[in-house]
Amino acid sequence: MVKKQSFEASLKELEEIVREMESGDLSLEEAVKKYETGIKQAKYCNDFLNTTERKIIMLTKDNEGSLKEEIFKDDSNDI
């Protein structure tokens, strides 16, 4: 399984694997292992890009000085 890591690290590892695979220096066993890891990293990256939820919060202080989080209304209608 792919360990929980940053998107950047995952993307970098994927890139490194692709480079190694393309070098053609790997044995079949190594290549299969790398390929499996690469597929997992690619999936991890894609999941990462798609699952995070969009949220805009306005953080304000009320009269007593305590913090208040409220959803910011995003009124821009363009994409």
Partner: protein, 447 residues
């Protein structure tokens, strides 16, 4: 009515002008003047020519290229300035003008100076040193935005973030971005964001404005807060050309709020494309590896022969070799047989036989010759022997005795006596005669 011709001194234009020149230039060697720039022009010489004016009056002015080099800003028409100048008369035209040594923009000048001073101070403290710049996260999903809650900057940032990477969490800390207390609010917001430890990056933003408008971003206390922040800060203040102190201290400076959002967030479509490309290349290289191995296998297989085939090949080879061996041996025998035949033929040829009989004849002839020579030699020596024997017979003492001679010798030692001196009386002598011997004793020696 005509004026009378004066009787006193009459000036020429030149002398009059020269006197005015001397008078003015000595009276106003260096003067401070303020006014608004108009009719501004810079010909090819690089000097600046303009008119300095106020509501009632105008005066021609020039600032030479060398003096302009020291200015921190560009002169522009409409700009209100004050500066140090000397008054000068241009004799050929009879005009006077101000030659500026130094010009400051009115009002903003002190800000400008303060800005430069603070900038130098913080630079000396190392606040702008690249080694203190924190790396900006590659894909920050929690972004803190410190800006006006109502300004265009916030709208721009939200818009850009939506376009580039819509599913991220934006936390807005609304602050005053200009006027009294703006710097305090900005500092507090930076501290709050650091306390919450939620954001991966802070965007400190504000739309364009005058130097006074941006003063909070040029304050030392804000610079301090930006420098101390544990969370990396991207600034996007004003327009492209505006540089604030906060920009210099920030970990990354964007020219505008929109640009700050762009620098903070990668474009999701590009990332997806990138992952897709990597995935494609991964599949392609795997497929090519497998296809290569398959080709290798086929090629190896084609080179691999069954043992049966090898036996068959060897058998064929063996047969061929056997055949060739037999042929060779046969040829060899044939050849030698022929050679022997030839040699024996030559060995037993008539010439050889004849040579043998010749030799035999020769041997016979030689042996005949030998026998003949031997016989001749024998006869010759036989005759010689007979001859010599008769000679010897003549010389024999016996024959002398025969003729009456005798030989005397001592009985004792058989020594032959040839002289009477040899003999003493009473010696016993033996006398050999032809026939028989006499023994006698010596009586007298007659000598």
């Amino acid at each position: 009515m005509m004026a009378e011709k004066p009787t006193g001194h009459i000036h020429t234009v030149s002398t009059l002008t020269r006197e005015i020149k001397t008078l003015l230039e000595e009276t106003y060697p260096f003067i401070w003047v303020c006014g608004e720039i108009s009719n501004y022009s810079v010909p090819a010489s690089g000097h600046s020519y303009f008119t300095l004016k106020d509501q009632q009056a105008t005066i021609q002015a020039v600032m030479f290229k060398n003096q302009k080099l020291k200015l921190r800003f560009n002169l522009e028409a409409g700009m209100k300035v004050y500066g140090l100048a000397r008054l000068s008369i241009y004799e050929p035209r009879g005009t006077y003008q101000l030659i500026f040594e130094h010009i400051e923009p009115e009002g903003a000048g002190s800000f400008q100076i303060a800005f430069e001073q603070l900038k130098r101070k913080l630079s000396d403290k190392g606040y702008f040193d690249p080694k203190f710049k924190k790396p900006i996260p590659y894909l920050p999903l929690n972004i803190c935005i410190i800006t006006s809650g109502t300004g265009a900057a916030l709208k721009d940032i939200i818009h850009i973030s939506k376009r580039r990477f819509s599913n991220c969490r934006l936390e807005i800390l609304p602050v005053k971005v200009q006027g009294d207390g703006a710097d305090i609010e900005i500092i507090n917001a930076i501290h709050l964001a650091n306390q919450r430890q939620k954001a991966e990056v802070i965007l400190l933003a504000r739309g364009g404005g005058s130097l006074e408008d941006l003063s909070a971003f040029n304050s030392e206390s804000v610079a301090e807060a930006v420098f101390q922040s544990k969370i990396p800060i991207i600034t996007g203040v004003g327009h492209e050309t505006d540089f604030t102190i906060a920009d210099f201290v920030a970990d990354l400076r964007a020219p505008t709020p929109s640009a700050a959002a762009e620098l903070a967030l990668p474009d999701k479509r590009i990332l997806i494309q990138q992952v897709f490309e990597f995935r494609k290349r991964l599949d392609k290289s795997m497929a090519s590896l497998i296809s290569n191995l398959r080709h290798t296998r086929i090629s190896l297989l084609s080179r691999l022969k069954s043992p049966e085939m090898m036996i068959y090949t060897h058998r064929l080879k063996l047969e061929d070799l056997e055949l060739r061996l037999n042929r060779q041996i046969k040829a060899y025998f044939e050849y030698h047989k022929e050679k022997i035949q030839w040699l024996s033929d030559s060995l037993y040829s008539k010439t050889i036989k004849k040579r043998i009989s010749d030799q035999q004849q020769h041997v016979k002839m030689l042996s005949d010759k030998l026998a003949h020579h031997f016989y001749v030699l024998f006869q010759k020596n036989k005759t010689k022997l007979i001859e010599l024997a008769s000679k010897l017979d003549v010389l024999s003492p016996l024959s002398v005795l025969n003729r009456g001679y005798s030989i005397s010798r001592f009985v004792l030692n058989k020594k032959i006596i040839t002289d009477s001196a040899q003999v003493k009386p009473e010696d016993k002598l033996e006398t050999i005669l032809f026939k028989g011997r006499l023994i006698s004793t010596v009586e007298k020696i007659d000598g």
